[in-house]
């Protein structure tokens, strides 16, 4: 099977790239290892900072692919290679694909919170991740403790798996801060009687309207922010949790009981990204994410002509940035196919 372009990974980046390419009149195939497109975004309820339903974004992107994109789900890449400008991809099912160009959009995985043992994820009943909280939100369920009671106090823990030498991740995952603030607001909205405490090191409200959301969380929703990384957590006989941190703004250790704890898990390179990069001999940074040819001038291309990187394969990125990056990649691919690629 011959195609002009193969996009690997049908998360929001891959979908946007494929849609943009087909709108440019390019023959494109989209390969996805799972049974559905949508990647991480389909597990999310609402998006920061506007709290637009994630479904809207997926529907919009899905429409852009409605005609002209050959979508193959359940087609994890078994092998990939290139020879004389032609890429050959063998999916686990279906016939091999030959393409002139490949867009790698295999994205990221969420940090496995079990690795942060002292937080007790997977051990204590009432420790959940931000992703699990989104699932609760998107299923429209009421947030309760594992024991079925309404939580009276919830702790939101920032930087789980990020900015932490102890788990080997020195980088910042960028989107967790604002996700935490958004989720704090949503908890307060759902359970007005429940106190919410956010434990943070810094609040990196880097993008438009993020700081305003933080302000709203403080002013309108009364979310309390305590500056201090959670050092350890333990379970009480009633299954509530004891948190220990330093309240760095008073310079004193602080102990607090919460009924539930939400871990804001960060980004790690997805195993697919690592595997495919290894097959192609792509280089990655110390953080494990892939390196583009140049951080400023060729940030979608690689050392292999015709192979492009888009979205979170290059490091933590929010949906807006991933989509913009995907569209930029599509333009670069078009230039490449036209033989106009900038040197």
């Amino acid at each position: 099977m011959n195609r002009q372009v193969a996009v690997i990974g049908a998360g929001i980046t891959g979908m946007t790239a494929a849609g943009a390419l087909s709108e440019l009149g390019i023959d494109v195939i989209l390969l996805e290892k799972e049974e559905h497109t949508g990647g991480h975004v389909k597990n999310w309820d609402r998006l920061f900072p506007s709290r637009r339903p994630a479904k809207e974004v997926l529907d919009f992107t899905g429409k852009s692919m409605a005609t002209g994109v050959d979508i193959r789900c359940g087609s994890a890449v078994e092998s990939i290679g290139h020879n004389k400008g032609i890429f050959t991809i063998r999916p686990v099912k279906g016939e091999p694909v030959n393409a002139m160009s490949v867009v790698l959009a295999t994205g990221y995985d969420l940090f496995d919170a079990r690795k942060k043992e002292e937080y007790g994820y997977g051990i204590y009943d009432n420790v959940i991740t931000s992703a699990e909280l989104e699932t609760i939100f998107s299923e429209g369920k009421k947030l309760t403790t594992h024991q079925g009671t309404t939580p009276q106090r919830i702790g939101i823990i920032h930087c789980v798996g990020s900015r932490d030498e102890k788990v080997g991740n020195l980088y910042c995952s960028k989107v967790c801060c604002v996700t935490g603030v958004k989720q704090a607001i949503e908890i307060r909205e759902m359970l007005p009687g429940c106190e919410v405490f956010s434990f943070y090191m810094d609040l990196r409200m880097y993008d438009r309207n993020f700081e305003e959301l933080y302000f709203e969380a403080q002013q309108k929703w009364g979310v309390s922010f305590i500056r201090g990384r959670l050092s350890e957590c333990a379970e009480n006989p009633d299954h509530s949790l004891v948190l220990k941190t330093e309240d760095t703004l008073t310079g004193r250790p602080l102990k607090m009981t919460v009924d539930m704890m939400i871990l804001l898990v960060g980004f790690v390179p997805s195993p697919e990204t690592v595997r495919i990069a290894r097959m192609l001999g792509l280089s990655s940074g110390p953080d494990g994410f892939l390196l583009p040819a140049d951080e400023h001038f060729h940030d979608n291309t690689t050392t292999i002509p015709g192979l492009f990187l888009a979205g979170a394969v290059k490091g933590p990125a929010c949906i807006v940035n991933s989509m913009a990056d995907a569209r930029a990649t599509a333009m670069q691919v078009k230039s490449y196919l036209n033989g106009e690629m900038l040197k």
């Binding site: 609040l203 309240d247 008073t250 004193r252 102990k255 607090m256």
Partner: protein, 111 residues
């Protein structure tokens, strides 16, 4: 009879949030909700007229109050001269003079 072995059980340094009495904190938040907006930048403390003479730290003090640690605040808060510079530099618009006045009132009414 308590025996004396030459040492005493040291009180913990840690803030026990659950056990602390947060009456004053609640009073403060209710009467001057702008306190919630603090981001701990310390501008108020850096510019403080009283802070030029002592180690008066209004940023830390109201944080302590919100955590229910009020014992040492009661005396300390009396050093404020109310000049209002803190309020003028606060990047978040915290109504600091009223924060301090409210803490004074809370201490007066609630002990």
């Amino acid at each position: 009879m308590a025996k004396n072995f030459g040492y005493k059980i040291l009180p913990g340094e840690s803030i026990d949030f659950d056990r602390n009495d947060k009456l004053i904190a609640r009073y403060l938040v209710e009467h001057e909700p702008s306190i919630n907006l603090c981001i701990g930048c310390g501008s108020c403390t850096a510019t403080c007229s009283t802070g030029h003479f002592t180690d008066f730290n209004i940023r830390r003090m109201h944080t302590f109050i919100l955590r229910g640690e009020t014992k040492h605040i009661k005396k300390e808060i009396q050093k404020c001269m109310f000049c209002g510079k803190c309020q003028l530099v606060c990047p978040r618009g915290v109504n600091l003079r009223n924060v301090i006045l409210t803490i004074n009132r809370a201490i007066e009414h609630l002990g």
